[in-house]
Amino acid sequence: MKTRQRQHEPVIGLEVHVELNTESKMFCSNSTQYFGQTPNIHTCPVCLGFPGALPYTNKKAIEYCIKIGLALGCEIAEETVFERKNYFYSDLPKGYQISQYRWPLCRGGRMVVKNKVGEEREIRVNRVHMEEDTAKLVHQFGISNSKGATLIDFNRSGVPLVEIVTEPDFRDLAEIRDYAKKLQQVMRYLGVSNADMEKGDMRLEANVSVRQVQSSKFKVQNELPKYRIELKNINSFRFMVAAVQYEIERQIEALEKGEKLVQETRGWDENNRRTYVQRVKEEATDYRYFPEPDIPPIEIDKDIETELRRQMPELPWEKTERLIQEYSLSSSQARVLSETQEFADYFEEAVKVVNSLSLSLSLSLSPVRIANVLINKKFDREQVLPARFVEMIREEEDRPGVSSEELEGAVHSVIAENTKAVADYRKGKEASLQFLLGQVMAKTRGQSNPVAIREALLRNLR
C-alpha cells in the first residue's frame, strides 16, 4: 500500500448538495418540513408539477445561496439564470429539474482543509448554484406473494437545494472528511441549513480517479486522468468515505494490472463492502439544459451583495483564529470552542464574567483555564448560565479538596488498575483520559478539582 501510494495518487472532486432550511419551498409557498411528516401533505400544483402551474422564486433561498458563496470566497454573479435539466424519473414531477448550468449564482471559491499529515491544502470551489430537490421514493417490499410497490412522497419536492462543486483537488480521505465537516460548520454558522447528514440535509457525491505521481522533474502534474468514476446515491457520509477508499484501492490495483478504466457511475454495496457499476458512459444522459422560460434572469444588485456581506457572521476559521489571538488559546482549544457558535459564545461570555470580577478573584481564572474546564467538563450549557459556570469553577477551587499527596496516590493506583485504558490513551484515544479522570474523581470521592486531576494524570502518563 505504501509503495503503491507513492506511484499513484487519487484525484477527487466533490459535489455536495445542501438542503436549505427556509420556511417555504424553492418555487412555491409550501412548508419545507418533510422529515418524519405524513406523506404528501406539503404539496400544491407547483411542487406536484400540475398542468398550468408556474414556479415563483423564493428570495430567501437565493440570499442563502449567496451567503454560502460569500463564505466560500466565491464571486457572486451580477446576473444569474435558472435552467431546465431534462430527465425522466418518477421522483421528478415536471420531467425536468429547475437548476443552474451556464450562469450559476456563485463561482470560483476555496476552502482550506487539513490532509492526513496535518498540512493545510486549498480546495478550489468551482461553483455554488441553486436548484430544487426531488420527491422521495419509498420502496415497499411485497409481503409473501403480493408484489412490492414504490410510493412517492412529494413533501420533499421543491425544497431548496444548493449544490457546491469543487475542482478535483482532494488527494486523501482526511481532506474529504475535513471539507465535509467544515462545510457543515459553515452552514450552521450561516444558519442556512441544519446540515444534518443523517437526515439528508447534506449529501455527497464524489468523482474519483487515480493518476501516476509524476516525478517533480517533469512538472505536468496537473493533467487529469482521462476517466472518472462517479460515486452517487450513497446516502450516508460513512458509506461515502468507505466507497471512496474502496475506489482508490480498486483503481490503483486495476491500473497496476494494466487495465484501462472507463467513465462510469458506481454505487455502494454495504453488505459486501464494495462499489458496483450503476451506469457506464455510453448511457450517459443528455440533460438538454436550456434557460427556464418561466423565471426571468435574476439580477443581483451590488447593494444586495453588500448587505448580505454585512450580515455575514464570523466564520468558523475566522473565529478560531481570533480566539487564538485574543485569548492566547491553543489552536486545538480554539478549534474545539469554535465548533459551534454557541460554544464559542459561551466561552466568551464566561471570560466576560471573569473580567467583571475583582482582580484578586479573576487572577487564577485565565481564558486558557476557562477554555480547558469548558472543554473537559461535561455539563448541559443550556441549563447553566456562563456566570453560574464561573461561580462553579471558583467553588471547586474553594473546596477543601484533597492534598496533593492524596491525589498523586489516587492517580498512581488508577493508572496501575486500568492498564487497558492507559494503553488506549497512549495509542491516541482521547476518551480514555476522560475515563481515567472519572476513576480518580471516584477514588477521591469527588473532592478533587478536575483540572488538577487532569494535570496530575497527564504528568504521570507522559
Partner: protein
C-alpha cells in the same frame, strides 16, 4: 331570449346594471343556444350548467377548478384541476362565470383546430371550413354567439388567427401583462392568455379585468388601465407602419385587397402610413418552431401518467412531432445550430421591431395569408400549415401585443386586420382597432340559425 346572446360584453354589463335582465337569464339564454347549435360546431368540450355569472367560454387549456380541463388531449381526458388559473379567479371577481370549456388543438399545437383529440370545431361561417386554431372553439363560440366573450391562448397566433377566420375580435396582449398561472404550457416564453370578443371595447374591458401583476407568474408585472375616452379618441396623426414583408408572396390576392382597403380607410381617418422593413420575418417561422417545440418538449414531460392523466402513447401525432422536434433542437450536437441559433434570431426579430417602432406607432397588416380553408386541406402537409402562422408568430417572438379586427370579407369569408405595437402599447392598438371596427360598417355575425339539421356531416 335570442336577443340577449347578441349583446356585446359592454352591452351586457349595461343591461345587467340597468336590471334589464339577470345573470341567470343570461346563462339560460346562452346554455340554450349552445344546446341548439353546438352539435354542429363542436366548439365546446364541456358545458357548465352552473355557470353562475356573465358567461365566458374558456379554452380548455386554461385550468378551472372542478371543471374538467383536457388541453384538447386524450392524455388529460379525465383531468379535473384542483385549482383555478389566475385569469379565472380575476374573472370570478368581476361576476363572470364559466359557461363551458372550448375545443382547441391538442396542447394548443395547431392552426386549424383539427389537432384536437375531440374532433374539429367547424367555422360558423361555413361548416365545411376550419375555424382556425388553436383557440378554435373559443373563436367559433364567440362568432356564433354561444358566449358573451371567450378566453383563448396565443403562442404563435392562436387567438388572432381563429378570430380572423371567424370574423371576431382577437387580442393577444404584451407578454407579461396577463398571468400565465394556470395556462397549460406549450411554449412558455411565447404563451399568452388573450381574449376573443364581439367588439374591440369588449377586448379592452376583458384585458383590464385579467391583466396585472401576479406573484404566481414571475414574468407578469404590469397592469393595463382602460381609459374609454382615449379608446374612442380617434387615430388622427398616428403613424402606421406597413411592412412590405407582410404583403409579399403567399398572401391571397383577395385578402390583400381587403387589407389594403382598410389601410386606405385609416389614412382617410388621419393616419399617416409609412413603409417599414422587418428584415428577419423570413426566419420567423423556423425560429418559432424551434423555440416553441424546444420549450414544449420540456413542458410536456410532466405527462407521465403518475399523478394525473394517462400514458404518453395518448399524445396525438402533431404533439409527438413537436416533442421530437424540440428534443432534437436541445440535444448535444444540435443545441448550438438549432435552439441557440433560434434564440439569437429571436433577438434580431425583436430588434427589427424596435427599429421600426422608432418610426411608427403601430404596424398594420394581415393576420392570416388566407381566409378559412377547407377541413382536411392542409392536414397532410404540416409545413404549409406552419406557414399559415407567418404574420402572427413574430409578435410572440418579440413579446408584442397584437389585435385582430374583422375588416371585411373575401369570398364571403371574414378577413381580419392585424394591428401590432410596441410592448405595453395596448391602448394605442385598441384605439386603432376601435376605428377599424367602426368604419368596418356592418357588424356581421354568421347566420348560424339557418344551419339545416341535415346540412352538416
Amino acid at each position: 331570449m335570442e336577443e340577449l346572446t347578441k349583446l356585446t360584453l359592454v352591452e351586457t354589463l349595461e343591461g345587467l346594471e340597468d336590471k334589464k335582465f339577470s345573470t341567470e337569464e343570461l346563462c339560460v339564454a346562452y346554455t340554450q343556444r349552445i344546446g341548439e347549435l353546438d352539435s354542429k360546431l363542436n366548439a365546446f368540450l364541456t358545458v357548465n350548467e352552473e355557470c353562475g355569472g356573465i358567461p365566458v367560454a374558456v379554452k380548455d387549456i386554461i385550468v378551472t377548478k372542478g371543471i374538467k380541463t383536457t388541453a384538447g388531449s386524450k392524455i388529460l381526458e379525465t383531468f379535473i384541476p384542483p385549482y383555478n388559473a389566475t385569469v379565472i379567479e380575476r374573472l370570478f371577481d368581476k361576476g363572470v362565470g364559466v359557461i363551458g370549456k372550448t375545443n382547441c388543438d391538442e396542447f394548443a399545437m395547431g392552426s386549424s383546430g383539427e389537432n384536437s383529440a375531440y374532433g374539429c370545431t367547424r367555422n360558423p361561417w361555413d361548416l365545411e371550413r376550419v375555424p382556425g386554431g388553436s383557440s378554435s372553439g373559443s373563436a367559433a363560440a364567440v362568432a356564433a354567439n354561444l358566449c358573451v366573450f371567450a378566453l383563448g391562448t396565443d403562442t404563435g397566433g392562436s387567438v388572432r388567427q381563429p378570430a380572423s377566420l371567424c370574423g371576431v375580435v382577437g387580442f393577444k396582449p404584451t407578454y407579461g401583462l396577463v398571468s400565465r398561472y394556470g395556462l397549460i404550457a406549450y411554449g412558455s416564453s411565447l404563451d399568452c392568455v388573450g381574449s376573443i370578443t364581439k367588439s374591440v371595447e369588449d377586448a379592452a374591458t376583458v384585458l383590464e379585468w385579467i391583466s396585472g401583476p401576479d406573484g404566481k407568474d414571475s414574468n407578469c408585472s404590469q397592469q393595463f388601465k382602460l381609459d374609454r375616452t382615449k379608446l374612442k379618441s380617434g387615430v388622427k396623426g398616428l403613424i402606421v407602419g406597413i411592412p412590405g414583408e407582410y404583403f409579399s408572396q403567399g398572401l391571397d390576392k383577395k385578402v390583400k385587397e381587403v387589407i389594403k382597403t382598410s389601410i386606405r380607410k385609416l389614412e382617410a381617418l388621419g393616419c399617416k402610413t409609412v413603409e417599414v422593413e422587418l428584415a428577419h420575418t423570413k426566419y420567423a417561422i423556423a425560429t418559432y418552431y424551434i423555440i416553441a417545440t424546444s420549450e414544449a418538449s420540456a413542458n410536456l414531460s410532466r405527462y407521465d401518467g403518475i399523478r394525473f392523466g394517462g400514458a404518453r402513447d395518448l399524445f396525438g401525432q402533431e404533439v409527438k412531432r413537436r416533442i421530437m422536434l424540440g428534443t432534437f433542437s436541445l440535444s448535444v450536437g444540435y443545441y448550438d445550430d438549432y435552439y441557440a441559433k433560434a434564440a439569437r434570431v429571436r433577438t434580431l426579430i425583436k430588434q427589427d421591431f424596435e427599429k421600426v417602432f422608432e418610426r411608427c406607432d403601430v404596424i398594420v397588416g394581415p393576420v392570416s395569408p388566407t381566409t378559412a380553408w377547407k377541413l382536411g386541406e392542409k392536414l397532410n402537409d404540416p409545413l404549409s400549415m406552419y406557414l399559415s402562422d407567418i404574420y402572427t408568430v413574430t409578435a410572440n417572438l418579440a413579446g408584442l401585443p397584437g389585435l385582430s379586427v374583422p375588416c371585411g370579407f373575401a369570398d364571403n369569408l371574414p378577413v381580419g386586420l392585424q394591428i401590432l405595437g410596441p410592448r405595453f402599447s395596448e391602448e394605442k392598438i385598441l384605439r386603432v382597432g376601435y376605428v377599424c371596427e367602426q368604419v368596418g360598417g356592418r357588424k356581421l355575425r354568421p347566420d348560424v340559425q339557418s344551419y339545416s339539421t341535415s346540412g352538416v356531416e
